[in-house]
């Protein structure tokens, strides 16, 4: 089936640094999502992105977070500056239609902030 790729699979950085997580969504999909999963906890919605704009975000999507998809390339999540509590697995997903359509997930990026 359709695949979503995430790069890198693992990232270790020092607190205060910037990090960019990359997602290669399904090619014809229009809606893009990031979810955050702290170890042992549930997958929490962060943000939904469409047509160059944030459509929806949760309170977890702090001011230090930003998303973009320049020129149809990777869909990125940037955290600047990072904090210890940002350590988690970040899952990217994409869908053709918003909300009720099937989401296709990537394998996740494991981020560790030291």
């Amino acid at each position: 089936g359709p695949k979503v790729l995430q790069i890198p699979s693992h990232q270790i950085i020092d607190m205060g640094q910037m990090v960019t997580l990359n997602c290669d969504p399904v090619s014809n999909h229009l809606y893009f999502y990031w979810y955050k999963q702290i170890l042992g906890q549930q997958m929490e919605f962060l943000v939904n992105f469409y047509n160059g704009k944030v459509m929806e975000k949760s309170k977890l999507f702090k001011d230090q977070f930003s998303v973009e998809r320049p020129d149809g390339s990777y869909f990125t999540l940037k955290i600047q500056p990072t904090a210890l509590e940002d350590s988690a697995v970040y899952f990217c997903a994409s869908s053709l239609v918003r909300g009720t359509d099937t989401q296709y997930f990537g394998p996740g990026t494991r981020l560790l902030v030291l």
Binding site: G1, Q42, M43, F45, N48, E56, R98, G99, F105
Partner: protein, 112 residues
């Protein structure tokens, strides 16, 4: 606000026994759309089944679920567990075309 509850964090079964994973949800909106996603180790989470139709059974790959709006439930069932069903199962809710919100997940462990 909206919420999804999966009470069981871990369900351990013997192969061949029936599976039932519980999911209840809360929303004030009538247009709830419920999903079950399965997450196998070292793979990406993927959709198992979904429904927005009240009292209609939805089936896929041997699993089934029926959305009951009267009880706000969408329990996942299978008649006979297989070893290969061992995975994390997430129930999720979308309404008003918002991005799905996930429950805490239930780890299903099937033993021989």
């Amino acid at each position: 606000g909206d919420s999804v509850t999966q009470k069981e964090g871990l369900v351990t079964l013997t192969e061949g026994l029936p599976v039932m994973l519980n999911c209840t949800y809360q929303t004030i909106y009538s247009n709830a759309f419920l999903f079950w996603y399965v997450h196998y180790l070292n793979e990406s989470p993927r959709l198992l089944l979904k429904s927005s139709t009240d009292n209609k059974r939805t089936e896929h790959q041997g699993f089934h679920a029926t959305l009951h709006k009267s009880s706000s439930s969408f329990h996942l069932q299978k008649s006979s567990a297989q070893l290969s069903d061992s995975a994390l199962y997430y129930c999720a809710l979308s309404r008003n075309n918002n991005a799905p919100r996930f429950g805490a997940g239930t780890k299903l462990s099937v033993k021989p």
